[in-house]
């Protein structure tokens, strides 16, 4: 299972791994259903949800449209607060800066709270290469770090592991057997990481939002580890995507309304922290030295692109993952990048902007639009997936068979006579492959579909052919119930009234 993140080069291959893993599928479904229902309840209970979404979208659109102004303002203000600001065009540059800081402060250990940007940069690996131990402190992240895997969900990274697998990992870490009990396991991690927080040289965080007008950085979390990481070690390094900005604290209220409700269905995460600079002279805790590394790494490529600029509005809530029928089926690892689900399907290739590396993730979507409906800032992800497909085809990386098929489809569907003739042909042709009313052969265009499912055979009569009969049946059926059926139902009702029928609770 530990190879799930890397094995398989295409989404299809990786999805096959996920699809064959019964537990993963159930766990993903359970979690995402729960999160999705929680979100639905929280947003409905809050009321005016669409007005809040629209407001969130407007604030994000406005900030990104004036990003040079707001980011500049943020950097200037944060510096005045005593923060050391750094800019990194690429992931490699960001890693270089982080490593230089680690070397300068002679760090031995780095405690980290959840940060998608550091995942994106593979920063742990880089730290390891210069002999610095990086410890993930978010419970789920700690677990998958022990397993040597990648997160499979933005909000719940260890969604694909069950408590027995987790007990095994943590027992190996503890050097004693821990029972597969959630409280015991979490208690072990609490104790173990307490010491790490207190002795670490560097605390490393991500950044949910940065407030331009005061140069503050904002973190949303439930466990308290992000607070630990930004309070206890002497040096704090925050990695921040360049688009994380909101203008003011007033704007933060809108984000604080949208993010937790969309991510986990909470009214607010347990902790919401706004950090404005390192410790003050007289404070007895908080970092003495604070660095914020502002990372581009492909983000600015979306600026000025009418089809993809709105990607930068994303607040990383994970609601689109929970809403997506494809994600719920194949899980996060199948996407093969740092970001999974619909947002990952668009963001991963968009950040690379490298046509040659455009994977087939854009095809791992049914274009149903559930992601757009769920998105708290209304990013039209389903449309972006189509743009991606189009660009892939334009770049000559489409599937030749698919293009030919589409052309043929257009030719057949455009002409009623040809359509009828094709159906007739199909009905004769399928006799070779139909077994038990289904087609299982992995032939031609049905190869992908039939790998996991059975294609239905073509009906003996088409829907169009049956329409007249159907209409008659419906109308007739409404007029009167079948006398036999009526009699059976009446008998059942009588028996129930008399206490017979064998379904009593006595």
């Amino acid at each position: 299972m530990s190879g799930a993140a890397t094995a398989g080069s295409s989404v299809k291959e990786r999805a096959k791994l996920a699809l064959n893993d019964e537990f993963l599928r159930k766990a993903v479904k359970f979690t995402t259903e729960r999160l999705r229902n929680g979100k639905k309840a929280a947003s409905e209970q809050h009321g005016h949800w669409d007005e809040w979404r629209e407001r969130g979208r407007q604030i994000r659109l406005h900030t990104i449209a004036h990003l040079d102004y707001y980011l500049n303002l943020f950097a200037d203000n944060a510096r005045k607060n005593g923060v050391h600001i750094h800019f990194a065009d690429t992931g490699a540059e960001a890693v270089k800066i982080a490593l230089e800081i680690a070397r300068r402060v002679q760090a031995k250990t780095v405690v980290k709270s959840k940060s998608m940007v550091t995942e994106e940069l593979h920063l742990n690996h880089a730290l390891d290469s210069i002999g610095v131990e990086a410890i993930e402190t978010d419970l789920g992240e700690y677990i998958i770090q022990l397993a040597g895997e990648m997160p499979s969900h933005i909000v719940i990274p260890a969604i694909h592991k069950n408590r027995y697998q987790i007990a095994e990992l943590l027992s190996a870490d503890a050097g004693e057997t821990l029972s597969p009990d959630t409280t015991v396991l979490a208690g072990y991690v609490r104790k173990k990481l307490r010491e790490k927080f207190l002795e670490a040289d560097i605390g490393m965080t991500g950044c949910n939002f940065a407030i331009a007008e005061t140069g503050s950085m904002v973190l949303f979390e439930n466990e308290g580890n992000a607070r630990m990481v930004s309070t206890l070690p002497k040096t704090q390094i925050t990695l921040m995507g360049m688009e994380r900005i909101v203008p003011s604290w007033a704007d933060l209220e809108v984000m604080a309304t949208l993010l937790p409700r969309s991510a986990t269905g909470q009214k607010l995460t347990v902790y919401l922290s706004g950090i404005t600079g390192p410790r003050r002279e007289t404070d007895a805790d908080g970092p003495e030295e604070m660095h914020i590394i502002i990372v581009d790494n492909g983000r600015s490529l979306q600026l000025g692109d009418p089809e993809f600029q709105e990607l930068l509005n994303c607040i990383r809530c994970g609601a689109c993952l929970n809403a997506c029928p494809v994600y719920r089926h194949i899980g996060g690892h199948a996407y093969g990048g740092t970001y999974s689900g619909p947002i990952g399907a668009v963001l991963t290739p968009a950040l690379k902007k490298n046509v040659a590396e455009w994977d087939d993730i854009a095809n791992a979507s049914s274009l149903c639009g559930a992601c757009y409906e769920a998105c708290p800032v209304k990013i039209p992800l389903h449309e972006m997936l189509i743009y991606l497909r189009r660009r892939k085809v334009e770049a000559g990386r489409g599937n030749a068979l698919e293009s030919a098929g589409m052309k043929g489809f257009a030719a057949v569907m455009g002409n009623a006579k040809r359509y009828k003739a094709a159906l007739k042909l199909g009905r004769i042709g399928q006799k070779l492959v139909v077994r038990d009313g289904g087609i299982r052969a992995k032939l031609g265009p049905l190869k992908g579909w039939n790998t996991y499912r059975v294609a239905p055979s073509l009906a003996k009569e088409t829907f169009r052919e049956r329409w007249d009969t159907l209409e008659q049946e419906i109308r007739a059926g409404l007029r009167e119930m079948d006398p036999d059926m009526k009699e059976r139902m009446e008998r059942l009702a009588r028996e129930r009234a008399e206490g017979k029928g064998g379904h009593g609770h006595g």
Binding site: D68, H86, I166, E223, S273, G304
Partner: protein, 242 residues
């Protein structure tokens, strides 16, 4: 190392300032317009209008705060005055056998005189009062952390604490049990009523740490099973006073 740490920081800062110009110019170029140097008109600032006028009367605020705080696993009590708070904390300390208590160094808590109220053998540390103490360790070992909230918000069931010399961030974070005292006049309806004070105060007047706390530390990372007290306090009391 020939270069001192301070020199190195200064060199990095100089590099960063130079880079900043290029970075911002790059953004403007991609947006196909000149650099925006003036504050742009921001017509959608903050929450929607219908929300900004929303306010519950005091008793409703108290009721909703208690309801929300309890819904996420927090404990609440409404107490008439500081004497009642003193008795409450002393009772809890006896009940849970608390040995180490850390509290903020503020006048309201001085007035509680916890030292004499707590059971025999319990030790009270006062954050950052006196030299040479390892304050983070004192907070980390504490059974109880006692703070006075700067604000609270009823709609989300949140307590707000601001850091200062006498009000360490660790006091509300490291102890096993957190006791937050909320004078009812500090209880607002919406988060936005609190946040707007930070805009008004401006950068120079903000503390290093502003923390909203909405219940006990929690995680659902193991099989979606809710666990309490993963890193932060697992037991949190909000005591509404007045």
């Amino acid at each position: 190392m020939a270069e001192s740490h301070r020199d190195w920081l200064e060199r990095m800062d100089a590099e960063s300032r130079a880079k900043q110009e290029a970075f911002m110019n790059g953004i403007a170029a991609k947006l196909r317009r000149p650099r925006a140097v003036q504050a742009p008109e921001h017509p959608f600032r903050g929450a929607p209008d219908f929300w900004n006028g929303f306010e519950w009367p005091l008793e409703e605020r108290i009721r909703k705060f208690m309801e929300n705080f309890q819904a996420v696993g927090g404990h609440v009590a409404r107490l008439p005055d500081l004497q009642a708070v003193r008795a409450f904390i002393a009772d809890k300390a006896a009940e849970m056998n608390a040995k180490y208590v850390i509290r903020q160094n503020v006048a309201e808590l001085d007035a509680l005189e916890l030292e004499s109220a707590l059971p025999e053998g319990a030790r009270v540390s006062v954050w950052n009062r006196g030299e040479g103490e390892h304050w983070k360790a004192r907070a980390a070992e504490a059974d109880f952390g006692v703070v006075v909230a700067d604000y609270a918000a009823a709609y989300t069931g949140s307590v707000t604490v601001l850091s200062a010399k006498d009000k360490g961030r660790s006091v509300s974070l490291l102890p096993t049990v957190l006791i937050a005292i909320i004078p009812v006049e500090r209880l607002k309806t919406r988060l936005g009523e609190i946040l707007k004070d930070f805009d008004r105060a401006g950068r120079e007047n903000l503390p290093a740490g502003i923390h909203f706390i909405s219940g006990p530390s929690r995680s659902s990372d193991i099989e979606n099973d809710l666990t309490i007290g993963v890193h932060g306090p697992g037991i949190v009391y909000a005591l509404l006073v007045g």
